[in-house]
């Protein structure tokens, strides 16, 4: 993974000094809260219901074991012994004291980490395919470009006070696992017929109260133009994005209101003007310098089959279930990708304790080149585990509590923090998630349901991505009562779609029966091998709706 050079380190160190000064001026009263608010948000510091929350950047989801140990240290020393993995592959701490935050930033900087631009109306942490570099279906490794973009967007002087937050995502694989169509800008790295790398650029996707699918603005932006083309998009947005209404301020609304041809024309004109002014294209040497940080680890030449692994598969049913559900094929023979599930009854989705962080760091050192990845589905990944070692890794993960064989099942849900923490929320989400994982705990039933993406948000801002859940749950507040609306048919992948509301919402006691009802319609009407989303798309809303509200 990328290692800071002295310049990268100095920028992060100087940011700590700058933020320490801002905190000091806030504590002395020189900065008013409405001024400090904007400044602290640019550094990932929120004020939640009960305390500050600090969101730490995990650029494109890559962590070293050393970094994870430091996160454990921070959780122990400054928090209540845990952190929370977010849907932007970041980690957040829910209980830091304001006066401790500069010291936390110092600790983070000591392991090449920071909280820069993890919030605020600026370019946020960049997310990417969590299987970048190891996926079998990868065409271009997006990580070097994501890192180049991280550097370019860090303290970009022109784009720190945008109309609204701004999110980039990268993929370079055949299958999009980074939800690029639901980002302000989604970049899909491709190769043209000459074998040159470029990007399909999608603009104006997003969730929130007005969910929209990103639109293709350019079929092929050559890699050398990645930054200048992005600058053109950002400048059009910074000048013309709406600032009169925060709910209409995202770039998706600008693209929607201008219509795609006009928006594209503005971007192309700006791009041409920038080039004419002598905007500097990206050097191949720089791409190669950064790419050299993302070369393969020292893989052994191994046969595809592992006798030890195959024997364990035969002997241990629990192990084989875990392998079937949580393990993915690796590009390198003899290796596998291991998904760690951070979802199980009794624990908020994505939460991880300091002790678990330390254990995961140890396992990563022993079995996966000391590297850990975070996913936008709030899980972790060991990207490079030898098949020979899978049984040991499984046993170690069982001890940690991250070996639930439920990846891709209904239990593997995305969930926002909800009303228990968040000032924006209308309804609780974590207790509902817990009800669901507790109630739907028959693994045979879950496996029979097949792939089912359940996503839940505690308010219309959609941090839990409910719009793109095959089943989505949205918490609302109706006359003081928390209600949950259900949507069906969303998808964040290449077949992107936005879920539709099935009908009136349910209270917290009705939500489980409602889900059972919807799932029974699916199992009754599905065809052989048809997953939930495909069945919904074939059947439409009607049969689900009719059965769900049959008694009303």
């Amino acid at each position: 993974m990328y290692q800071y050079n002295e310049n990268d380190q100095q920028i992060v160190d100087e940011r700590v000094v700058q933020f320490r000064g801002q905190v000091k001026r806030r504590l002395s009263g020189e900065l008013k809260e409405d001024e400090f608010r904007i400044l602290r948000l640019q550094n990932g510091l929120y004020l939640q219901i009960q305390a500050y929350m600090l969101r730490v950047a995990v650029p494109y989801g890559l962590l070293s074991s050393r970094q994870l140990r430091m996160l454990a240290h921070i959780a122990t020393k400054y928090d209540r012994g845990y952190g929370h993995m977010t849907t932007r592959q970041n980690i957040q701490f829910n209980w830091p004291k304001l006066e401790d935050v500069p010291n936390i930033l110092d600790d983070l900087a000591s392991v090449q980490m920071h909280a820069i631009q993890t919030s605020g109306n600026c370019i946020r942490n960049i997310s990417a395919d969590q299987f970048a570099g190891v996926a079998q279906d990868e065409i271009v490794d997006p990580r070097p470009y994501a890192e180049i973009m991280r550097q370019w967007s860090t303290f970009h002087p022109e784009f720190a006070y945008l109309p609204r937050k701004f999110k980039f995502a990268f993929t370079g694989a055949a299958q999009d696992r980074a939800a690029i169509l639901f980002h302000d800008i989604g970049y899909r790295a491709v190769k043209n017929n000459a074998g040159e790398v470029g990007f399909k650029v999608y603009v104006g996707g997003g969730m929130g109260r007005t969910p929209m699918i990103g639109k293709l603005v350019n079929e092929f932006v050559p890699e050398k133009d990645l930054l200048v083309y992005t600058e053109a998009i950002m400048r059009v947005y910074n000048q013309f994005g709406r600032r009169d209404n925060k709910y209409k301020a995202r770039i998706k609304i600008l693209v929607h209101e201008l219509k795609l041809p006009k928006f594209t024309e503005l971007v192309e004109m700006e791009f041409a003007a920038l080039r004419q002014e002598g905007a500097v294209p990206l050097d191949m040497a720089e791409i190669e310098r950064v790419a050299a940080h993302f070369t393969d680890p020292d893989y052994l030449d191994l046969p595809d089959q592992s006798d030890a692994f195959n024997q364990h598969l035969q002997d241990d049913k629990d192990f084989s279930l875990w392998v079937k559900q949580n393990i993915l094929a690796h590009k390198k023979s003899g290796y596998a990708i291991v998904n760690l599930s951070l979802k199980k009854p009794g624990v908020p989705p994505g939460d991880i304790t300091d002790e678990q962080m330390l254990s995961v760091a140890d396992i990563a050192d022993d079995y996966s080149f000391g590297e850990i990845r975070s996913t936008h589905e709030q899980n972790l990944v060991f990207a490079d585990v030898r098949k020979d070692d899978l049984y040991q890794v499984w046993q170690a993960l069982k001890d940690v509590g991250f070996a639930e064989p439920n990846i891709g099942t209904l239990q593997d849900m995305i969930c926002c923090p909800g009303l228990d923490f968040c000032t924006l929320a209308n309804a609780r989400s974590i207790p509902i998630a817990d009800k669901i994982t507790t109630c739907f705990d028959d693994m045979d039933y879950l496996y029979d349901l097949g792939e089912l993406k359940l996503k839940m948000s505690g308010c219309i801002n959609a941090c839990g991505h409910h719009h793109v859940g095959h089943i989505g749950i949205l918490g609302v507040n109706k006359k003081g009562q928390e209600l949950y609306q259900i949507t069906l048919g969303g998808s964040a992948g290449d077949d992107a779609s936005i879920g539709k509301i099935i009908g009136p919402g349910f209270d917290q006691d009705e939500i489980i029966p409602a889900l059972k009802n919807i799932l029974s319609t699916y199992t009754r009407l599905r065809e052989e091998g048809e997953d939930f989303l495909a069945a919904y798309r074939r059947l439409g809303m009607s049969p689900f709706k009719e059965q769900l509200y049959a008694n009303n």
Binding site: N5, Q10, V17, F155, P157, E158, A160, Q239, R243
Partner: protein
């Protein structure tokens, strides 16, 4: 009033004129509307732009202005950064570009990078303290109005 210009504190010799009351002596900073309405011939004029103003409306008139002020009604409104960049890089404006309005030390690093060279720090803030903010960061990744060469070519 004191302002920061070219990273030094100086006594300002410009006056903001809203069009109300008698025309003051000396150098005047006026809005686009006022400049279009009134005859200021023989006076040194600075133009104050608001975030909504279109640069395309004034690009042929830049030679009339000895100064361009860009107003930040709130420091969360970042349109002025792009305005200054375009004035410097695209329209070739070489004279003073001044940030006015909701300006405090925390924006100075970004403002100078986008082509501003003068700043009216909002009242109640320590202007001497603000001077330090130009050096908040000693390293910049990107090219901008103050830097033609990206960091990776400077290594």
């Amino acid at each position: 009033m004191q302002i920061i210009k070219d990273k030094a504190i100086i006594e300002d010799n410009w006056t903001h004129y809203s069009g109300e009351g008698d025309l003051p002596e000396g150098n005047l900073i006026v809005s686009l509307d006022l400049w279009q309405e009134m005859d200021f011939s023989g006076r040194n004029i600075g133009l104050q732009l608001e975030p909504d103003d279109m640069l395309s409306d004034i690009k042929d008139d830049l030679h009339h202005f000895d100064l361009i002020a860009i107003n930040f009604p709130t420091f969360a409104d970042g349109r002025g950064y792009s305005m200054a960049k375009i004035l410097r890089d695209r329209l070739g404006y070489k004279k003073e570009i001044r940030a006015v309005g909701d300006i405090m030390r925390d924006q100075l690093f970004y403002l100078q990078r986008c082509g501003f060279n003068a700043y009216e720090i909002k009242s109640g803030r320590d202007i001497v303290d603000a001077l330090e903010a130009f050096d908040d960061f000693s390293i910049k990744y990107q090219t901008s109005s103050d830097e033609d060469v990206p960091l990776y070519r400077r290594r």
